[in-house]
């Protein structure tokens, strides 16, 4: 094969030699500047056949997917991070550069490149074409957002542009699916090497821009008119008075929906689990296996899966806000406030997502280029009241606080208590951020840059794919970590057997462990049962519910009671408040610890974070337990 480098059908034949094997599929890289619609195109080409992982050793996410060509052949697409240039300064640029030049062992050197550029801002985006074409790899220049270009009166001569660049050019709209056929044609075809007429000095930005401008003129590029709707919407969303009001309304609407609109859906999921659990109970004969299956597995996993609707609703909101372009405006409005605690507008997005779950929030800190700002955001994100804390808060509040109106029909005592816990977590985050930014994470002067994309309608496909992705991650966690913890707990609660019988819960292995740590927890007002719950909740906060459900269910004194009443009998009001405070501050989440380790590239930050949050949780709970008697 070595001498056939000029052979035009080489790529095609290589695939024919290894039919059916996905490792033999051509690897093709997708690259483009941020906001060029690169990911939309990637989603359009691969659909559900994609996989997200991390490039080993770095914190850059690696999206790969399989695109199926009309003739049935498969192409492996690698979605590279959005970059403005190939000069490797940031980690993203380094990874993009290494993949394209074949310098990463974990990723095959791409046989071709799909370069995605925004056709409505062609002159500037063409700057990236220079270093890409200089690689000498077969490249298709994809001019995205054709619909926008047309609607706003822009124009260009594709043949002339292709002649200037010496590479095929396709004008498409990834959102609408227009012109996707041309991309498939390129992938299925001969893929010639590029032969540009001229390339600029690559590391000279002004020269590259001049070259891009000249190419644009040669291709008779007429830039489109300013986006009318974006200007109109910005006049509202960035209005000095209306803008902040809209901002507050949006944040309020998000919360209102995840707390109220999610309830019927969550009740539905709960009902499904109850009905199916009862069905298993009546179908199977009474045995240890049935007890494990129903009490352990079904109730444990069910108590977590109930929260899926809530998590999905939050991600739905974040996806809509992000894809529509509003999130960049929100970051702009929030910047001043975030700057007061030493952070910046871009931290707002991850911190808002942290109200759903710290794991995706920490992953989304990648948009923050400044490393110190990024680490500070990662360290405070778990203080935001994530959805896993909700079941714990809901249960304890319902058990101890009677439902009464505070401010007319708008706010009742329980909602006020919930709100107070949100404020508590937020305050802890603010104080921590200030501490960090005035000590170990003091920032040098890196400029804050935020590109304002044009407003666009989000597409069902892109939002659907993200929600699908999120549900997969959430359910996988419920099906693995939480399932495992529940089963281990069930076993520990049923061993060692006494005269062939199941032991009383306090004599079981779990009970022994609980009673061993009881002296440490006594000052907080917790007994050994809560202690076991705290241990199992180290895996994931919501596990404590399943744990307490199992323990109280096996304890004859509380067997007939529901969980709420059982807890009410077992905990003093002071202990209840202490437990709430403990959950507000503690970092009880293995997934978060794992993702922090991955994103910060070592154990230093997660260990520091876990210790800090644990000390704060213990101290906070201690104070609460002694203030409220």
């Amino acid at each position: 094969m070595s001498e056939c480098s000029d052979c035009r059908s080489c790529g095609a034949r290589a695939v024919l030699e290894f039919p059916g094997s996905s490792t033999a599929a051509k690897a093709v890289a997708v690259i483009g500047p941020p906001n060029s619609g690169k990911t939309t195109l990637f989603n359009r080409l691969t659909g559900l056949r994609q996989k997200v992982a991390n490039f080993p050793g770095v914190t850059v996410e690696q999206h790969t997917g399989i695109a199926e060509l009309p003739d049935g052949r498969a192409v492996r697409l690698i979605d590279l991070p959005g970059v403005y240039s190939l000069s490797p300064r940031s980690e993203d640029e380094q990874v993009a550069y290494d993949v394209l030049t074949g310098n990463r062992d974990d990723t095959p050197k791409p046989e071709a490149i799909l370069l995605v550029l925004d056709s409505t801002n062609l002159a500037r985006h063409l700057m990236l074409a220079a270093p890409i074409l200089a690689l000498g790899v077969p490249t298709l220049i994809i001019l995205n957002m054709a619909d926008d270009l047309r609607n706003r009166g822009g124009h260009l001569n594709l043949d002339k542009l292709a002649a200037e660049l010496g590479a095929p050019v396709a004008l498409i709209s990834a959102r609408q699916g227009e012109g996707i056929g041309q991309v498939f044609d390129f992938l299925a075809g001969a893929m010639p090497k590029p032969a540009p007429k001229e390339l600029p000095v690559l590391h000279d930005v002004p020269k590259c821009r001049q070259w891009a401008g000249r190419v644009g003129i040669e291709a008779a590029y007429r830039p489109p008119l300013a986006p009318k709707w974006t200007r109109r919407l910005d006049a509202v969303f960035l209005h000095p008075a209306i803008g902040p009001l809209v901002f507050v309304a949006v944040v309020f609407a998000v919360f209102q929906t995840i707390f109220n609109a999610a309830v019927p859906l969550m009740d539905g999921v709960k009902w499904l689990f109850d009905v199916s659990g009862n069905w298993i109970t009546t179908t199977l004969p009474d045995s240890l296996i049935r007890s494990l299956l129903v009490e352990g597995v079904w109730k444990g996993v069910g108590s977590v899966v109930v929260f899926l609707p809530q998590v999905l609703l939050l991600f739905l909101f974040i996806a809509i806000l992000e894809d529509s372009g509003y999130l960049a405006r929100a970051a702009l409005i929030a910047d001043r406030t975030m700057a007061k605690v030493g952070l910046q507008g871009k931290s707002f997005i991850p911190l808002l997502s942290a109200y759903a779950c710290a794991v995706p929030a920490i992953m989304s800190t990648r948009t923050i280029e400044n490393r110190r700002d990024r680490i500070a955001t990662i360290l405070i994100a778990p203080f935001m009241t994530c959805s896993a804390r909700l079941p714990v808060y809901t249960l304890i509040i319902a058990a101890f606080i009677p439902q009464r109106h505070v401010v007319g029909p708008f706010l009742n005592t329980r909602a006020a208590a919930m709100l107070a816990l949100y404020v508590l977590g937020f305050l802890a985050a603010v104080v921590t951020a200030r501490l960090l930014k005035s000590s170990i994470l003091k920032t040098g002067r890196t400029p804050f840059l935020l590109e304002m994309p044009s407003y666009r309608w989000p597409t069902f496909q892109s939002i659907g794919l993200r929600l699908y992705d999120r549900s997969k991650v959430f359910l996988r966690r419920a099906g693995t970590v939480i399932l495992l913890v529940t089963v281990i707990l069930w076993i520990m609660a049923n061993l060692p057997t006494q005269n062939g019988h199941i032991p009383a819960i306090e004599n079981s292995l779990a009970g022994t462990i609980g009673r061993t740590i009881e002296p440490v927890l006594k000052p907080l007002g917790f007994n050994w049962k809560i202690g076991i719950g705290l241990i199992t909740s180290l895996a994931a906060r919501e596990t404590i519910i399943a744990t307490l459900g199992t323990i109280y269910g096996m304890d004859p004194k509380s067997h007939g009671l529901d969980l709420q009443n059982a807890i009410h009998r077992d905990l003093t009001p002071g202990g209840a408040v202490a437990l709430l405070v403990f959950f507000a501050f503690a970092m009880q989440c293995i997934s978060t610890i794992a993702v922090v380790r991955r994103e910060t590239g070592g154990w230093k930050w997660p260990i520091l974070q876990f210790s800090y949050m644990s000390v704060l949780a213990y101290a906070g709970a201690f104070v609460a337990a002694h203030l409220i008697r």
Binding site: Y84, P206, F448, L450
Partner: protein, 97 residues
């Protein structure tokens, strides 16, 4: 006119991006920032000789959005201060006729 004092200056007025109010345009002269930061700004379109127009801002005027080379980029005041520009008009415009 009270502006005549300013008009004695040469045709070109030097200032920074911070001096622009909404709708003002100016030609970027140079970027007073370390190499990598300046490069990042240049990749986003802030090249010397380019026309920059001040746009909307967050409440309080900071950060402000600037239109440059077909894009809209928001900069904080502390960064905008480092971007020196040549004004096309006097910094403060007289009453409209």
């Amino acid at each position: 006119m009270q502006l005549s004092g300013n008009c004695d200056q040469p045709e070109v007025f030097s200032a920074t991006l911070v001096d622009l109010v909404r709708g003002d345009a100016a030609i970027l002269d140079r970027i007073d920032l370390p190499g990598d930061d300046a490069r990042r700004l240049m990749e986003l379109g802030f090249l010397p000789g380019t026309r920059v127009t001040a746009g909307l801002s967050a409440p309080g005027g900071d950060p402000r959005v600037f239109q440059v080379d077909g894009s809209e980029i928001a900069l904080r005041r502390e960064t905008a201060r480092r971007l020196k520009v040549r004004l096309e008009k006097a910094p403060r415009r007289g009453p409209r006729v």
